[in-house]
């Protein structure tokens, strides 16, 4: 079985400050890892994904994440946030074989304060 934990339900941060949104996962099989963002009244948009290779992956809007297999983590980071980054962020995993559905965390609401 797979599970995803996002410990921080809300993260307030000042504009131009760095941010890290934490994600830990548990799975008995190898997985792909994802971060999705949801802006108000919009659908889920893929920010970045880890499939294989380099453990540091870069996504859209200046975000990056690092896969750490030993810690089963996939934390999302941005060195300097903008007001427009205010949104809900979801970490998700997908099994590499078999079913292709996504297992999501509970989400982290990032609020950027001017």
């Amino acid at each position: 079985a797979q599970s995803v934990t996002q410990l921080d339900s809300q993260v307030p941060v000042f504009e131009e400050a760095p941010v890290e949104l934490r994600c830990n996962y548990s799975s008995s099989v190898s997985v792909y890892l994802f971060w999705y963002v949801q802006y108000p009244n919009q659908g889920l948009q893929l920010l970045l994904k880890y499939l294989s290779g380099s453990t540091l992956v870069k996504g859209i809007n200046g975000f990056e994440a690092e896969f750490n297999k030993s810690q089963t983590s996939f934390h999302l980071r941005k060195p300097s946030v903008h007001i427009s980054d205010t949104a809900e962020y979801f970490c998700a995993v997908m099994m590499r074989t078999g079913a292709n559905n996504l297992f999501f965390g509970t989400g982290t609401r990032l609020t950027v304060i001017p």
Binding site: G43, A92, M94, N101, L102
Partner: protein
């Protein structure tokens, strides 16, 4: 840019009524999904659909639920005899091929059961 659309954006219904949530996936996509998110909880997989049949379903997807692709463009989720606990945001997603590929999400339908 092609996108997944969902209608209605908000549906209010009385307990015990049937509802149909509609999705129009991206036109060349072959795999379709429904997910739901109860307020304050994680996004949960309901069902995946390929080649006019269900390929995977979660334990949530019981006999109360059904999916259909009635006309080659729409992908619907029917909930028979709605319960209060069915109140949630329902997301449709689609992807192109069997090989790993990104799932594109619609903006969601907020279902409120009174």
């Amino acid at each position: 840019e092609p996108e997944v659309t969902q209608t209605p954006s908000h549906q209010v219904t009385q307990m015990g009524q049937e509802v149909i949530l509609r999705c129009v996936p991206i036109s060349n996509h072959l795999y379709f999904y429904w997910y739901r998110q109860i307020l304050g909880q994680k996004v949960e997989f309901l069902v995946s659909f390929y080649n006019n049949e269900i390929s995977e379903k979660s334990e949530i997807f019981d006999d109360q639920f059904s999916v259909e692709r009635p006309d080659g463009s729409n992908f619907t989720l029917k909930i028979r005899s709605t319960k209060l606990e069915d109140s949630a945001m329902y997301f449709c997603a689609s992807r192109e091929t069997q090989v790993y590929n990104e799932q594109f999400f619609g903006p969601g339908t907020r279902l409120t059961v009174l």
